[in-house]
Amino acid sequence: MATSRIAHGGGIALGAALSLAWSVGAHADLTLNMPQGVTAISHDVYHLHMLIFWICVVIGVVVFGVMFWSIYHHRKSRGAVPAQFHESTLVEVLWTIVPMMILIGMAVPATGTLVRMYDARDAELTIKVTGYQWRWQYDYLDDGVKFFSTLSTPQAQIRNLAPKGEHYLLEVDHPLVLPVGKKVRILTTAADVIHSWWVPELGWKKDAIPGFINEVWTQIEKPGIYRGQCAELCGRDHGFMPIVVKALPEAEFRQWLEQMKKDSTSQTAQNDSRAPIVPGGQTL
């Protein structure tokens, strides 16, 4: 009886909180939760996140339910007389063992996901990502294509002198282009300080550390544009080095890559004709 009333009360409270959250979300088009993402791994991570979340909600409803029941009924103003019990080995053992069981239930799927995330074997394409203060460089190691990717939001928008665009601070001049359905290995490193490469839709972030190379992988399932940001404080413009990934179907990706190869050869030539600049700033 008592328990059912607690559960009922908890259920109402939870329902109210959720519907409030939902209505706020619906009206203002706000994101409340982690994105499910566009890779098998990001789905796994999302479901893991939701599993732990609901376990926490249930534990919270039970514990706080008992507590609020007690706060309501066992108050001096209602004439409660304090009991004097103060220990029970049995319940102490119980509430040590039961949480252990729950934790094991969480650890099993978490371990599986982690093992899959660490398996970067058999990748079909390798891209080196280098963090700079404050932009990213992408290097398609097998194809000799290499370019910088820099924030393209105009300063006027940042300084509030112009209306902000739809993708304010999440837009770049040259996005990273990836093929859909291929396992891509990504190597992260940095040239100056530590950065962290993060696109939420891919399900992970990885630190880019000067002098070291980290290995991760992704396999995007659907074409689209996915946006993220540097996630490790890297100095003054840490908030201004976004990441944009453009996922293209295999054929279009190949086309794009061929075009880039051509462009980069001509660009190098062009650069050579302009360079070198002498230290005094005089152009030769």
Binding site: L30, R75, L169, P200, K205, K206, D207, A231, G239
Partner: protein
Amino acid sequence: MSTASHTTDHATDHDHDHGPARGLSRWLLTTNHKDIGTLYLLFSLLMFFIGGAMALVIRAELFQPGLQIVDPYFFNQMTTLHALVMIFGAVMPAFVGLANWLLPMMVGAPDMALPRMNNWSFWIMPFAFTLLLSTLFMPGGGPAGGWTLYPPLVLQTGSAFPFVILAIHMMGASSIMGAINIIATILNLRAPGMTLMKMPLFVWTWLITAFLLIAVMPVLAGTVTMLLTDKFFGTSFFSAAGGGDPVMFQHIFWFFGHPEVYIMILPAFGVISQIIPTFARKPLFGYASMVYATASIAFLSFIVWAHHMFTVGMPLAGELFFMYATMLIAVPTGVKVFNWVSTMWRGAMTFETPMLFAIAFVILFTIGGFSGLMLAIAPADFQYQDTYFVVAHFHYVLVPGAVFSIMAAAYYWLPKWTGHMYNEKLGKLHFWLSVIGVNVLFFPQHFLGLAGMPRRIPDYALQFTEFNMVSTVGAFLFGFSQLFFLYNVIQTIRGGAKATDQVWEGAEGLEWTLSSPPPYHTFTTAPEIK
């Protein structure tokens, strides 16, 4: 003379004989645990307002997208200094202040074991923080690489760099001395008959915290010294170009840093374990298991540090070890929460301000614990790491956690310390504004983090606007509510209704057998413990 006669009259006589010196020298030269406790607490309150002002600069800038108020580099200085000031200047000294005031009174000792060192460990602090805050006015500004001081970024700090390191050394020295003093007091000055397992839980949690401090503050000192030599003496501990490793800094830092978070929460557990039984009028449930849980948490705190660095690219085995070890912390922490709830169960509760803060602590700290459990899951942490979800998590455990416990302690023992009751209505107003403010401030940050907002950025994409606005409103509400606390404390020190010796109907323990306020020197003769 003699005997700890606990009546007010005798106490006054006592004061007359060995009372405090007059004027400034009382505070500068004092070796009295109560005076030093007061100094620590007032210093902590000052730092709480300074650190809070910095937080409001941060939240004001984040009210809207775009850069409105401060330059991004100054923004980074604010996030860095806010953390350093709040951790080392507000929370830690507040608990040391509570320890100074309460430990001798709780264990039946005349004073702290090492009174002169006690004076020194306090008076280092104002110098350390003057030095730290003065870096804001140095060429290149204050430290802006985050309080975690990660190289290579921190090595880009301007002239402030060596001063920041020196300030951290001074804070560390102060903490270590404070910890030594606390251990010496607890282990040597207990009244006859007060066995370890009869000590109040606040004493227990501080004993364990003091060992944590002694274990890890030297590690912090060591690693910041390595930063110093990397910068000025040509070493390459943390530079890959010279054969070092920037990630090694993170390992050493977090070997200090994780026990550090328990240094800030274990004494809070102690405070809450004193307050809930008083207002439930029922003994603490599971005293022994509380002690063992505290000790287990302290032990585990040494083997979980790398969960702060799941994304640095550790080997799979390392990730798994730190994930499992971190999840284990939920067990002893859960035991504590269950014990508190069981203490309330079938009690006869009243809800004065200290109890309100204690209950809010249990609920909101547990919410912080839940998000902590989520963060322990390494694959999910790859999403959460370095986002506002983390910011929400550690502020839930630090603000409605540690800070609320300090507020609860202040209201709970203030009548004992000053001899006056505080204004209960104002206390409750302060509580309700704080608890609403803190949730409006930090709860939306969970959503921001999950939706993809990184931490430590001065400007953000448009989809984060609404929750940032809400959060900023909460920040100002919470921040300005603390002025009620300040006012209430000042008024209570200056006067107010006379407090009885026991103060609270259900209060038990040696400190409540003393007069309110207690005599300047307490327990010159040890009390009898049954």
